[in-house]
């Protein structure tokens, strides 16, 4: 229940930099998700907040307090580990109460807190068991219970769901969200799964190679990614990227994807893009904004024709892959509307959701 502040945070292991200057403010009771590809420094950042990893440079504040040199036990945080890290020789009850017993809380207070957490997590039946006698999902709950009973300033989660099967993961995801709504606390949650990030976060922090690429709410992150990396990382299937040329077309601007495909840029974007006229840029469009030909609902929707390559039916939609100037492009079409591979098909593209990226800086324009 406190704000966490990361200031110019650095971590190097020997010569290898793991985290290279992170600035981040996590508000009170906010659910922040750190997401990024493997090895980008998420765990390292989290462990520095927890106090399990020495900080090479920079500062961390919890509330008003600078905690760089405060040992983990005095930071008033709780952490849930990827493989749960339950004490195998203790029962569920002992696992959950260990931290409280170390802090010498009165017996009845411990009892009350354990019962309360067990009720929230629905593990009241399991209190006498050992971790070995629990399923993966149950262990996961116990690990969360151990954090909840502590009633800490902040919860830290390191990929807590990655050891569960797909179905249980979705179920626990919902549950974590529910628990956060009941137990209002600051949460820092690490995952490499962007869907998990989108569904859980108040704000997402996309990390890449030791730095923060963008911090934004899930919707903002989806609508207005700030870099090519974020644009490609958030959203599934990921955004299509194509080399393009930005040209003038008399009254406005248009992008040329290939000889046959020339698309008009929405009028309200012209001011934004005008400086890049006649430059080679990267055009980005998400599959869901590239569909079979449909009735236009706004003036910026345009049609073009392309040969169908491969089809990937998903049930609700069919992914249609085509080739434009050597690049694979994925469109999301209604199953009934798709043509056979090799045939030409008409697509509608919604240019209001287009992105232009400067290939030199990888910034979204």
């Amino acid at each position: 229940m406190a704000q966490i502040l990361l200031k110019d945070l650095y971590k190097t292991y020997g010569e290898t930099p793991a985290v290279r200057g992170i600035n981040l403010t996590i508000d009170e009771n906010e659910f922040v998700v750190l997401v990024g590809p493997s090895g980008c420094g998420k765990t390292t950042t989290l462990r520095m907040i927890a106090g399990l990893e020495h900080i090479t440079d920079g500062e961390i504040y919890i509330g008003e307090r600078l905690i760089n040199d405060v040992p983990p036990r005095d930071r008033d945080i709780a952490m849930v580990f990827q493989n749960y890290a339950l004490y195998p020789h203790m029962t569920v009850h002992e696992n959950m109460s260990f931290g409280l017993r170390l802090r010498k809380l009165p017996k009845d207070e411990i009892q009350r807190r354990v019962k309360e957490a067990a009720d929230i997590l629905d593990i009241g039946e399991l209190l006498a068991r050992r971790p070995k006698q629990l399923s993966g999902g149950q262990r996961q709950r116990v690990a969360m219970g151990r954090a909840i009973v502590r009633n800490p300033e902040a919860f830290l989660f390191d990929e807590p769901l990655s050891n569960l099967d797909a179905k249980l993961r979705v179920q626990m995801r919902t549950e974590i969200k529910l628990i956060h709504q009941r137990v209002r606390t600051t949460v820092v949650y690490v995952t490499h799964d962007q869907v998990e990030a989108m569904t859980l976060a108040d704000r997402i922090v996309v990390m890449n190679d030791g730095i923060v690429e963008q911090v934004a709410s899930p919707q903002e992150m989806y609508d207005n990614p700030s870099t090519r990396f974020v644009a490609g990382f958030i959203g599934s299937p990921s955004m299509n990227f194509l080399p393009c040329k930005l040209t003038g077309n008399g009254s406005g601007l248009s992008v040329i994807l290939s000889d046959g495909i020339r698309l008009n840029v929405p009028a309200d974007r012209e001011g934004r893009y005008r400086d890049y006229l006649d430059r080679d840029l990267t055009f980005g469009i998400r599959p869901e904004h590239l569909t079979e030909q449909r009735q236009h609902t706004n003036a910026d929707q345009q049609d073009f024709s392309c040969q169908v390559g491969v089809l990937e039916p998903m049930g609700i939609d069919t992914m249609v892959f085509m080739n434009i100037e050597g690049e694979d492009v994925c469109a999301r079409a209604a199953p009934k509307s798709v043509k056979n591979p090799g045939e030409d098909m008409l697509f509608t593209i919604d240019m209001q959701n287009m992105h232009l990226i400067d290939p030199g800086t990888d910034k979204v324009l």
Binding site: Y87, P88, R103
Partner: protein, 335 residues
């Protein structure tokens, strides 16, 4: 084209060898296919070794303990008379008590120091690999050899310990003119192997020195199996270093620790070489253990029956210890 030919050739060869195999299938091969038979066949060598080197000597010893056999003569069956005689003798009772005392104290010290050493060795420091290897040294040197060195170090006249003690004792130590230790004059130092209580202390010390590496290395191996996340979790839970050791490390390595302690207990209980080389049981039988007493009775006095009986007394005592400790192991849930 060449590839196809090669493939055909290979197929032909394969089928040819299969036919040959089938025709060679003998009775033995069929029998060995049977897992039960194969199991017994594989067990036989070990079983024979046990019969020849363990079961037969044990049975022979048991038989001798029930006779009045002396060297060079066939013995007559005398029932439990040897045991009764031993129980009645002071020297046997002293040896039995010494054995228990020696074993319990030495094992306890080895376990405590071994744990301490293991925890130290488990840390990362420069030369940690070399140090780990060096720790094993007392374990590698043949016992008799290293014990002979101990014999010299504990010698009544030439003891290096006493030499150092004497040197420190009559040295005046001063820092910037301030005397922090004056010259205490001459000190003889203890007669390590010549006085009963010093002698017992000396053999325990030598035994600890020799047995420590086994404890340290076994505990070290156990420590390294403790997942590091458990320490992370304990850190977050608020455990200090000592509490982490008490609540995480110790419970996690308990099963291994118990096996190590039981094993060392048994070996220490039956220790012979060390005591025999250092004191031969003296002075005044104060360091006689059951093993050295048994040796003395049978080899020096030539009384094989009585010696065997003394040795056999170890069996029920050890049996109780092992059963107790293994029961405990089962209770704490090690499969």
């Amino acid at each position: 084209m060449a590839e196809t030919t090669a493939k055909t050739a290979a197929t032909t060869r394969e089928s040819a060898s299969r036919t040959a195999e089938k025709s060679r299938t003998s009775w033995i091969t069929t029998q060995l296919e049977n897992e039960r038979v194969l199991g017994y066949v594989l067990l036989t060598p070990a079983f024979l070794l046990i019969i020849v080197f363990i079961a037969y000597p044990f049975a022979l010893g048991t038989w001798m303990a029930l006779t009045d056999k002396v060297v060079g003569q066939p013995g007559n069956f005398i029932g439990l008379a040897n045991f009764a005689k031993l129980l009645d003798s002071d020297i046997f009772r002293t040896a039995a008590w010494n054995t228990v005392f020696f074993t319990v104290v030495a094992t306890a010290i080895k376990a405590a120091l071994g744990m301490w050493l293991a925890v130290l060795l488990n840390r990362k420091f420069s030369l940690s690999r070399v140090t780990r290897a060096a720790v094993l040294l007392p374990f590698i040197v043949p016992t008799v050899l290293s014990t002979l060195v101990w014999l010299w170090m504990l010698d009544g006249t030439f003891s290096v310990f006493n030499w150092i003690l004497r040197w420190l004792w009559d040295m005046e130590i001063s820092v910037f003119g301030l005397v922090i230790k004056e010259d205490f004059g001459y000190i003889r130092g203890p007669n390590w192997l010549g006085e009963p209580s010093w002698a017992m202390g000396s053999i325990i010390m030598a035994n600890v020195w020799r047995g420590l590496p086994f404890f340290a290395i076994s505990f070290l191996a156990a420590l390294q199996t403790v997942p590091s996340e458990l320490y992370d979790a304990a850190d977050i839970d608020g455990a200090s270093g000592w509490r982490k050791f008490w609540h995480v490390t110790l419970p996690m390595i308990k099963p291994v620790a118990i096996v190590v302690v039981v094993f060392s207990f048994v070996v220490t209980f039956a220790d012979f070489q060390l005591v025999y080389v250092l004191t031969r049981g003296g002075p005044h039988n104060s360091t006689h253990l059951l093993a050295t007493l048994a040796y003395q009775l049978s080899m020096h006095a030539g009384n094989l029956g009585e010696g065997a009986a003394a040795a056999l007394f170890m069996v029920p005592l050890l049996f109780v210890v092992i059963v107790l400790q293994l029961t405990y192991l089962r209770r704490i849930g090690v499969d």
